[in-house]
Amino acid sequence: MTTKKGIEVSIAASIAAQLARVEVVAAYPITPQTHIVEHLSELVANGELEAVYINVESEHSAMSACCGASAAGARTFTSTSAQGLELMHEILFIASGMRLPIVMATVNRALSSPLSIWGDHSDIMAARDTGWIMLFCENGQEVVDSIIMAFKIAENRNVLLPVMVNLDGFSLSHVIEPIEFPSQKDVDSFLPPYKPLYSLHPDKPVTMGAYAMPELYTEAKYAQETALINSKKVIIDVMAEFGERFGRHYKPVETYNTENADFAFICLGSINENISTAIDELKSNGKEAGLIKLRLFRPFPKDELLAVLKDKKRIAIVERAMPGGAANSPLYNEIASLIYANKLHITLENYIVGLGGRDVHPEDFIDVFDMKIAAKKDNNNYNVIGVRE
């Protein structure tokens, strides 16, 4: 029996972790993640979730405690944002290197300085190459479904990697949406209890994270990278199984109206909803634009992207992070390298939007389509929409 209710997306995210029967949650509060961890602590305190919840003294400790719990064989969950994610940075590599299937809801927020509590992707873009599997969500239903799927992906014996489920701060985390929750029974049969391949246990001691001499380090890292690349197959299978069981179908790369257009936007996260609105508006004026949504960001879904990109003429890559001195923003750079390697001839445009919670309107994307913004292009290879100089 599924239930459908209007609920704040953060609360829904914690219910998803509850449905996944997480056993240890270690976290440190930070806006806009707080409602997720507060609600989890409440579920634990009320006896509605058989788990241990601890509010440790920093995010560095939170991710460290999660690694410990996961290494000892517990299904482990946490959540953070912005400064918290950067403070975890060191331990993010430990989690992926030790192959610990932790799941984290990352509520994307701008980084200081200047201080901002509002949403953008500067936090996750600074943590993108930490060896985690990364999913992005457009709405609350995707958040719930992704968290449940994340455990199944992470714990697969051929994967054993941590998974981050990204959701935009405030514009997604704090909105109330109608969300369908699968029953506990159905989640239980989809996601059986976690049985670790190796864990810290007195009956069968193991060593984790040991020193690797130069003769071994490269091989260890290569094996880890291979597991990450190969995880895509498991991700696709898990998404397919989820679709069969729960009737909501996901793919690493999803599209909207791309079949009718030789122009498309590519974007991550909740701004995709605004872009879809712009596309509908354009359509009503006889113009065709498509949208390519990356649900999966790590491992980078090259083949799936190529399949949609190959017959496009012009692509606008829309991102919520500054390039930080790079040629272009992170997603642009990866798509450019993909296109180059496959000898495609596509005009690429790069737009930076929505920094530090700046509003983004469907009209902005209509202007992008109409080349009104690209015409103003300055010395950079990208446009920061609406910036005052």
Binding site: Y28, P29, I30, T31, T34, V37, E38, S41, E42, A45, N46, Y53, N55, E57, S58, Q83, L87, S112, S113, L115
Partner: protein, 280 residues
């Protein structure tokens, strides 16, 4: 102009940054009042002061004052301040932190600044909770209390910030409350004039979260709680341990002389090179 208005005009960015974000009745404003009165009394110029803060309701304070200010990240204020002081020892560096800032995420910096005895004043507003993020338990939340992350009761023991500072080696530690405003003025004044790492712990209330969750009443009632549970160091010395069980001491907990980091550093520097002052 009334004395208080003069102080407000002189030290606060009253025409730019107000109204402030603090809840009506919050104790942080009282601490801010004590801070500017003590600075005024000590006679520092506004420009020689650097006010450094972390993040939180307390950490918001530099927005409102007209000094050099450095608004850093949650927990790192003391580390930033250490850099400021080393780069220009002539500056009077004051660090304002919440309990979470000082002894949770920044706890490591706190004990090391105390141990190192670097010439900084650390003012810590202890409201027993993470105020800004919505009332989660902090390392100073007492055992048994309710917070948004301990719905029934808190099962951890609390840090005693002042005792932690004493044990970590700080040569000056004072504790006051926002109820005892005049004591706070004098503690801050002494701390500002102290050479070395000086700590003032300010017991305050977060009536909107900690107070509400624990049915401790209004801001006024929580201040009355401070009045009823604080005992001066002098009086405490006359009392039995039994009588002090649910009380806390206010006043100067320690005031001793210890070699100060930069003086010691200077001794080595001039001793080894024999040359003059090369600092900026």
């Amino acid at each position: 102009m009334a004395e208080v208005t003069k102080l407000i005009h002189k030290y606060l960015r009253h025409d730019k940054k107000f109204p402030h974000v603090w809840c009506p009745g919050c104790g942080i404003g009282i601490m801010l009042g004590a801070l500017i009165r003590a600075i005024d009394k000590c006679g520092f110029t506004k420009d020689e002061i650097v006010l450094v803060s972390g993040i939180g309701c307390t950490g918001r304070l530099p927005v409102y004052v007209d000094f050099n200010t450095l608004h850093t990240t949650h927990g790192r204020a003391l580390a930033f301040a250490t850099g400021v002081k080393l780069a220009n020892p002539k500056l009077k560096v004051i660090v304002v932190m919440g309990d979470g800032d000082a002894v949770a995420i920044g706890g490591n910096h706190f004990i090391h600044a105390a141990r190192r005895n670097i010439d900084l004043t650390a003012i810590i507003l202890n409201n027993s909770i993470y105020g800004m993020t919505g009332g989660q338990y902090s390392p100073t939340t007492p055992y048994g209390m309710k917070t948004t992350t301990s719905s029934f009761f808190h099962i951890e023991q609390a840090f005693n910030i002042s005792e932690l500072a004493v044990t970590a080696g700080a040569p000056f530690v004072g504790r006051g409350t926002v109820y005892h405003a005049r004591l706070l003025d004098s503690l801050m004044e002494k701390a500002f004039l102290k050479k070395g790492f000086a700590v003032v712990e300010v017991i305050s209330h977060c009536h909107t979260q900690f107070g509400k969750l624990n049915k401790m009443g209004t801001a006024v009632e929580m201040m009355e709680w401070q009045r009823d549970h604080a005992v001066t160091v002098e009086k405490a010395a006359q009392m039995k341990e039994e009588e002090l069980k649910d009380k806390f001491r206010i006043g100067i907990l320690i005031d001793k002389e210890l070699p100060v980091y930069l003086d010691e550093y200077e001794k080595i520097r001039t001793g080894s090179s024999g040359s003059g002052d090369r600092r900026p």
